[in-house]
């Protein structure tokens, strides 16, 4: 099953901009991001998760253009073709 994960801004610098990932069915969104982050950079992992392994409250998580809260990301299972985006607080304008 294939999904796309994109990181932006500081998270992109730490973890890469766009990752196509092959995963097994039943994986939660949070679990998927933990796996990728751990594999790529400890600093990147720490930027997203606290010591207990849960998303920092300021991390923004979107799946297919819909925002999910960190607790929701623990429960939502990713599906074939999902487009996931992870980013820090916005600072445009």
């Amino acid at each position: 099953m294939k999904v796309r994960i994109r990181f932006f801004a500081r998270f992109r610098e730490l973890l890469g901009s766009e990752i196509m990932e092959e995963i097994t069915k039943g994986t939660s969104l949070a679990e998927l991001v933990r796996i990728i982050a751990l594999r790529r950079s400890r600093e990147g992992y720490d930027a997203l998760f606290d010591r207990g392994g849960t998303f920092h409250p300021f991390v923004i998580i979107m799946r297919n253009g819909v925002r999910l809260s960190p607790p929701e990301a623990e429960h939502v299972q990713v599906s074939e073709g999902d487009d996931i985006a992870i980013f820090p607080p916005v600072a445009g304008g």
């Binding site: 932006f8 801004a9 923004i60 925002r67 980013f87 916005v90 600072a91 445009g92 304008g93």
Partner: protein
């Protein structure tokens, strides 16, 4: 015109096109790169969502403040001191709607549109923190954009 782009925009032309029937007041906001000891600014956007968000904000503002026209151009890429970062141009029948609509658009962009800024300084680079840190992005939960 709603755009996220690297190119600059012709403000004179935007003003010209905003002068449509019923318009009595035009307000332009032009956010530019400030010379805070920086050499350049680098802007990054989650483009597809940023554009959808800008369109949504423009539509909401048009309705809430009875605006006749709304243009929003948010630039990305590397910008020098003095360059335009964000141009918001609105026209309305009267000044009140024009000012308030313009300000509403700007504040909502700062809270909701996925764009990030990095200051490039002689002593190192630095991501500008969001002004709405916790309630991040204020992108509503579970809302389809």
């Amino acid at each position: 015109m709603i755009a996220v782009q690297t190119d600059d925009v012709d403000i004179g032309d935007l003003i010209h096109r905003a002068k449509q029937p019923g318009a009595g007041a035009i307000v332009l906001f032009d956010g530019i790169v400030r010379d805070d000891d920086i050499t350049e600014m680098e802007l990054e956007a989650y483009e597809d969502i940023a554009i959808k968000k800008l369109e949504q904000i423009a539509e909401r503002a048009r309705h809430l403040y009875h605006l006749l026209s709304v243009d929003i151009i948010h630039r990305t890429g590397r910008l020098k001191v003095g360059e335009n970062i964000l141009v918001i141009l609105v026209s309305a029948g009267h000044r009140k709607g024009a000012y308030e609509g313009s300000r509403y658009i700007l504040e909502t962009i700062k809270a909701e549109v996925p764009v990030w800024k990095k200051e490039l300084r002689r002593d190192g680079n630095h991501w500008v923190p969001g002004e709405y840190p916790h309630n991040t992005g204020n992108i509503p939960l579970n809302e389809e954009l």
